[in-house]
Symmetry: none
Subunit: 423 residues, 2 copies
Amino acid sequence: MGDEHIKKASIVSIGNELLNGRTIDTNATYIAGRLRTISLPVVSVHSVPDEVDAIERALTLATSEADVVVATGGLGPTDDDLTRQAFARFLGVELVLRPDLLAKIRQFFDRRGIEMPARNTIQACIPEGADAIENEMGTAPGVRAQKDGKLLLSLPGVPTEMRHMFDTLVLPELQSLARGQAIAAKRLRCFGAGESKIAEMIGDAMQRGRNPLVNCTVQTGVISLEIVATANNQAEAEKMVQEEESSLRASLGKLVYGVDDQTLAEVVGAELARVGKTLAVAESCTGGLLAKLITDIPGSSRYFACGWVTYSNEAKSRELDVPPAMIEEYGAVSEQVARAMAQGARRKAGTDYAISITGIAGPGGGTEQKPVGLVYIAVGDHDGTDASRFVFSFDRDSVRVRAAQTALNILRLKLDLTGPVPI
Amino acid sequence: MGDEHIKKASIVSIGNELLNGRTIDTNATYIAGRLRTISLPVVSVHSVPDEVDAIERALTLATSEADVVVATGGLGPTDDDLTRQAFARFLGVELVLRPDLLAKIRQFFDRRGIEMPARNTIQACIPEGADAIENEMGTAPGVRAQKDGKLLLSLPGVPTEMRHMFDTLVLPELQSLARGQAIAAKRLRCFGAGESKIAEMIGDAMQRGRNPLVNCTVQTGVISLEIVATANNQAEAEKMVQEEESSLRASLGKLVYGVDDQTLAEVVGAELARVGKTLAVAESCTGGLLAKLITDIPGSSRYFACGWVTYSNEAKSRELDVPPAMIEEYGAVSEQVARAMAQGARRKAGTDYAISITGIAGPGGGTEQKPVGLVYIAVGDHDGTDASRFVFSFDRDSVRVRAAQTALNILRLKLDLTGPVPI
């Protein structure tokens, strides 16, 4: 498949905040990732301020590089939002007020019982001859236009609005545009070993120029191995990915917990729901993070019963029946207290499983015997309660995230061992 | 000082990995942040793949937009590193092998007791007439060149190498280049009103071409107003920012909760610590998120005592003494239950304040009377317990984040009213 036949995309990110060193452009990353799934590669990202000239220059370069240009940002109602104007100028047309769009924006405010501020009227204006793209999550419609055979899209910068609009209304059109070019990709998500260890286990899979190629990224202890295969047709590309996946799974065993964007909480939750078991959590240093990760998953109320954030020693004793004498003797950060917290939570909530976490997230509070990063995690079920000791590295956030993720992983492995074998 | 006299910078980020949706370009954010400190504004970031044509196009656009172009990436020793070649072509010269640079690269390997791989020789090649920039953290020297009065810099993409080279060898030169221009900036963080409402309250502050200019961004309900002032000297710029801040604060009153990167949880926590009061939380739909936001702050154990994630009705009754008959009569998502949860949490934890949240985060569980997004928040203190009703929009994540942030904001306003006036 020759490079010249492949349709390509370019992204234009618009907003002063992207150029001041404070805001990271997650929209471009999101769009590039989604376009990857439909075999439409991104050849450039241009980030420019909220200025008509700069936006127009970026659109000119982007259309010279790609068949599709996806712009985000600058569609808000305030004076610094100038993307509509820049699109109109680039297309050589005027902005026109569309009464149907205005009615929808009014409706949006009506539902909240608020009168529409006058300045939101500008959001009902789009370049003459362009199409509006409906925004189900906010007031700014997107814009779809064509120039010299190139497709131009302008989406809101607010990530929730952009993502919803992109996934539901933009991606299907781009998918048919990219038909006939085949890139298949899949991510294996691993937890429980470091990057170098995993690299060692999978041999030459990451070697440059290989097809399929495996690319490794690390985030919050999760190692993602992305398999990318290029072929003349989708079936062939998919098959190559599948074979690579089998081979990686054979090498990595239980280190692989899921695929694509699956989280540990999602996988553990699905398994709890499948086997009809329930869970309670008792947290100290993670301060609600573990419960949050679990309840991030829609439908988690089927298996998640109750959580305690027992930050103080008093709360540990009062709420979870941890004996004050035990805290006195071993300290709140101890195997004994972790075990007692899990037991207390499981008993009080009446659940099948309970997880507890107690540790020192830092930055203060560490000693030579009990350094910052020391965490005890206990998991209890009808057979008893196991506690493990960990020392996690770096800052407060990392320690908390690692502790919560590790706790979920312990439960995952436990479920895998005690439950029936998944088909 | 007219805009046309201000020196500006553009960033060119080079590397395939930046365009596949998996890698976020932290180098551009770092450089933009550093350049802000020396009052050299960044007017664009262009991210392109490891291809000579694409790099050359980006350099052409960047030099048309700015006085200084900082490129990163593509200086490695492998075949896909083509930035040197692209720079040479853009400058209209050949690459030349510099024996002094080669000697340094050899030394780098010698120090590690490794023989230099032959392919590292390419890293000793730079465009004819250009200067090398020493790399103290790796093998690839940077490149410094000039064309038509514009300064072009090429730095390695490895963040540790890039940052060290940029800070020690690049920034000083750019600082003298930007001498005589001064930019000062400050962000005001607001919560409690929408973007349009805030825009209305502050008049023309966001109007293009104004100095200081105010730029508005929205994230998780927080509106950030960044004030940027440009002047001939730093003291003058700072003074302009200060005056603008006073004027915005006068217009916005209590909507302004903090500055720069402050979160609501941080501001509320600092105030609780200052007045020596304690807090407990009882969460249903936010599932631990509120506790997590509060305990994200180091030292939160001074004021945060305990949290309950009472996801099931049983847990609400058992843990927080919410009467089952009340849940039966009004439903778990009701003003009555919110109030009872806050009262139960405050009584059991023995704290000065308690916050409760109960609602329907979705995606399922909504009815016509009680739609997805319906949330009751109650805040209790020694005077009693106030409950409020909200309908938040969109998806599960947004509803949860808005609910938790709104709860913190209610407590912030309460603290402000009951506590002594801050100096």
